[in-house]
């Protein structure tokens, strides 16, 4: 698959609308790729020619931007290959313009030992078409009791620590993990949902859940866990990232913590940005998610927080589920939705609706997560990896879940009208996806 040899031939993108989310710069231009990295950028020089013999990609005025960096994707490998493998996840990612994927540790076995990180990286090298970086477990076996070997796991290549879809409920365990993580500069990603308050809840608590006769998940399940964590961050000084916030009160908490100067960042799922609880309609299990889809007021609050920069990162929360775990009554169905392939198109809804600029959206989907993870990707700059996407932000299409590259088809956007798609994706200068017309 991905060849370890460097690109012999230079590659020039001409007539591009360059968007660099890291600097916010947006202009017509040309970009030169050599040896898998960005060699030179011709801002305001869309016609600038490359060296003799270089391959030329005429962008036709369309957007050329850094590939997306998705901080939260569940991949079934190892243990649930029937749902997704690193290969199929990476193909889905390439089709969606995601060139770097951080895979979650809730696999079987759990990614809580350096040897499993090593396995994932080797497997990704041999089978995946995009960059894969494992997040390792925060606690052994994701059991919330004993911390993992942060130092050794980081040496093996883990980029962050998280218990995936689980929250660490024991405050003492969390405190020690944060304290120890600070010494290694490790980044902690935490899913903030108090499992006792979630209880048997399956959707946002409120009128709609009550009408459907479904037990609700109160916003306080997220808020209380987040408030506790923020106090522990104040106590320990560790780098803390709330994986996915979903409601207005959480935004206010994050905003206050940032104002206090705490080393805190947060993410939001593309689903909570673009869908709300009403989309569940007649018990659509593809919209059963954790955190649950909230009210329209909450959705607008997270969109606003993204536009104002309070939210740092947008994630796909890609979670492939097969038919058998989704074709069940709502309360019995598994949580999760696939998202790698639709994250950008769905995010562009916010751009087209005028909520947010394209560069700001791409910052939250590329440059900011890369910076948090300490990766060189996510920017248009000489020396950065040539992980690039060519986008037509206006091309309309209707999503057909059968056409998804992911092994699982549980997309909440099935049959949705979307506007804007990825035409070509490059990883280290090599084309890994091409949806442009044959002409």
């Amino acid at each position: 698959m991905k060849t370890p040899t460097t690109q012999a031939r230079a590659l020039v993108f001409t007539n591009a609308r360059l968007v660099d989310p890291a600097s916010g710069r947006e202009a017509a231009g040309a970009l030169l790729v050599e040896d898998g990295v960005i060699a030179d950028i011709g801002w305001d020089e869309p016609g600038r020619a490359g060296p003799a013999g270089a391959e030329v990609v005429d962008c036709g005025g369309r957007v050329l931007a850094p590939g997306l960096v998705d901080m939260r994707a569940f991949v079934g490998e190892p243990g649930a290959e029937h749902r997704e493998t690193l290969k199929t996840a990476s193909e889905a990612a390439a089709a969606g313009g995601v060139t770097t994927v951080v895979c979650m540790p809730d696999t079987d076995p759990v990614v809580d030992e350096p040897s499993i990180v090593d396995f994932l990286l080797r497997r990704a090298r041999d089978t995946a078409v995009v960059n894969i970086h494992p997040a390792a477990a925060l606690t052994k076996g994701l059991e919330g009791r004993e911390m993992t070997e942060f130092g050794l796991l980081m040496e093996a290549g883990a980029v962050a620590f998280t218990d995936g879809a689980r929250s660490v409920t024991n405050a003492q365990v969390m405190r020690r993990a944060l304290t120890y993580a600070r010494d290694f500069g490790a980044l902690i990603l935490h899913h903030t949902e108090d499992p006792d308050l979630v209880g048997s809840g399956v959707m946002n608590e409120g009128e709609l859940a009550s009408r459907l006769g479904l037990p609700g998940v109160p916003r306080e399940a997220e808020i209380i866990m987040l408030e506790r964590d923020l106090r522990l961050v104040q106590l320990t000084g560790a780098r803390y990232h709330a994986a996915m916030v979903s409601c207005a009160t959480s935004i206010a908490l994050i905003e206050r913590a940032k104002a206090e100067g705490l080393p805190v960042t947060c993410g939001v799922s593309i689903n909570n940005l673009t869908l709300n609880e009403s989309d569940i309609g007649d018990y659509r299990t593809f919209l059963k998610l954790s955190p649950p889809l909230r009210s329209e007021e909450d959705r607008l609050a997270v969109v606003d927080a993204l536009a104002r920069g309070v939210i740092d990162v947008v994630v796909s929360d890609h979670n492939p589920q097969d038919v058998e775990t989704k074709r069940l009554p709502f309360a019995e169905a598994a949580d999760g939705a696939v998202g790698l392939e639709t994250m950008l198109s769905a995010g562009l809804r916010l751009v087209h609706a005028g909520h947010i600029g394209l560069a700001r959206l791409l910052a939250a989907m590329a440059s900011q997560p890369a910076a948090l993870l300490g990766l060189p990707a996510g920017r248009l700059a000489a020396g950065a990896p040539a992980d690039l996407i060519l986008i037509d932000p206006d091309e309309p299409y209707v999503l057909d879940k059968a056409a998804l590259h992911s092994r699982s088809k549980n997309s909440p956007f099935d049959e949705a009208r979307l506007e804007g798609r990825v035409l070509q994706t490059f990883v280290a200068g090599r084309k890994v996806h091409d949806a442009s017309p044959a002409s």
Binding site: G206, A209, L212, L214, Y283, A331
Partner: protein
């Protein structure tokens, strides 16, 4: 029946999945048909031929004595071939999913399937996978439409109307599909609905259903025309939602003293089976104001009406 009978009010639905989505006209049409079915059931010759040749399957994923036997009797009185299937949770655990079960039954070409399931929305899911008419006999805490219809029929026959009545629904509203269906139906027909219970047993956002919410039984019952009690499941009695049976009965059990706050001619209802001494005192349950036994009779009539209304919309109906 045949084309020569007088035109009847039409019921333009393929399934009865809930009261939600029914118009007041739909509801009234079913109640009028049920009134006729009451007369049929009171004759010596109770058998009709409306559903002759039709197959009705009662598919119960949750045990139920009264609802299942009520549907069975209703089907048989209309001449249908009725088959009861009780799917215990253990056989579901053997791997067959709800959708597998639906596909299997569908292949047997039934005309009507009556379904009860412990999960909200399960009956909707099943209805999408079969070709026949589906009746919801209770899905989780979502809806139980024939119970609400039989309650409405009972009220209408005793009070002569539903519009303008004050109906107090009391007890475990949170887990009750009966309460949800009744709230929607009674409001559609113009009743003033109240919900009364401890806050731990009231669903979030209840006031947005358009009901008045009370946590004090005496205030909630003041001037009520109808007092509708709900069953409290045994596992919810001891500390999880309410501290104890003793405390629940003291504050939320319907006894003669609390009933005195309602109108003097107030009537008492309960969907059954009753927990005597938990949500209702025997003296009240068996007293002159109680409609509880009549509700059971109306249950058969309402189910006959529902089966007949849906059968008319079947192919060759």
């Amino acid at each position: 029946m045949t084309a020569t009978t007088a035109p009847r009010p039409s019921f333009p639905h393929r399934h009865l999945l809930g009261i939600e989505g029914l118009s007041p006209l739909d509801i009234t049409a079913l109640l009028d048909m049920a009134d006729e079915a009451v007369e049929v059931s009171r004759q010596v010759e109770k058998k009709r031929t409306t559903l002759r040749g039709r197959t009705q399957i009662n598919l119960f994923f949750e045990p139920s004595t009264r609802t299942q036997s009520s549907f069975e009797l209703a089907g048989k009185r209309l001449g249908a071939d009725v088959m009861n299937m009780s799917v215990s949770s253990s056989s579901v655990k053997k791997g067959e999913t709800l959708i597998d079960t639906a596909a299997t039954l569908n292949a047997m070409r039934p005309d009507i399937i009556v379904v009860r399931h412990h999960a909200a929305g399960a009956v909707h899911l099943l209805a999408r996978k079969v070709d026949c008419a589906v009746i919801n006999a209770g899905d989780g805490a979502h809806e139980h439409p024939t119970q609400a219809l039989l309650d409405a029929l009972t009220i209408r026959r005793n009070k002569g109307r539903i519009e303008g009545l004050i109906v107090a629904i009391c007890g475990d509203v949170l887990h009750s599909r009966v309460a949800r269906s009744n709230i929607i139906l009674l409001q559609a027909l113009g009743a003033r609905v109240r919900c009364v219970g401890p806050s731990t047993l009231l669903p979030s956002g209840l006031e947005r259903f358009g009901v008045e919410v009370f946590t004090d039984m005496r205030k909630g019952l003041a001037d009520a025309d109808i007092v509708m009690m709900l069953r409290l499941q045994r596992e919810r009695m001891n500390g999880s939602f309410v501290p104890s049976v003793k405390e629940y009965f003291r504050f939320f059990g319907l006894d003669r003293e609390k009933l005195a706050y309602a109108k003097p001619d107030a009537l008492v209802m309960h969907p059954g089976p009753m927990n005597r001494g938990v949500e209702i005192d025997s003296e009240v349950a068996d007293g002159a104001q109680s409609l509880i036994r009549e509700q059971v009779e109306m249950g058969v009539a309402v189910r006959m009406a529902t089966l007949e209304a849906l059968a008319r919309n079947l192919p060759n109906g």
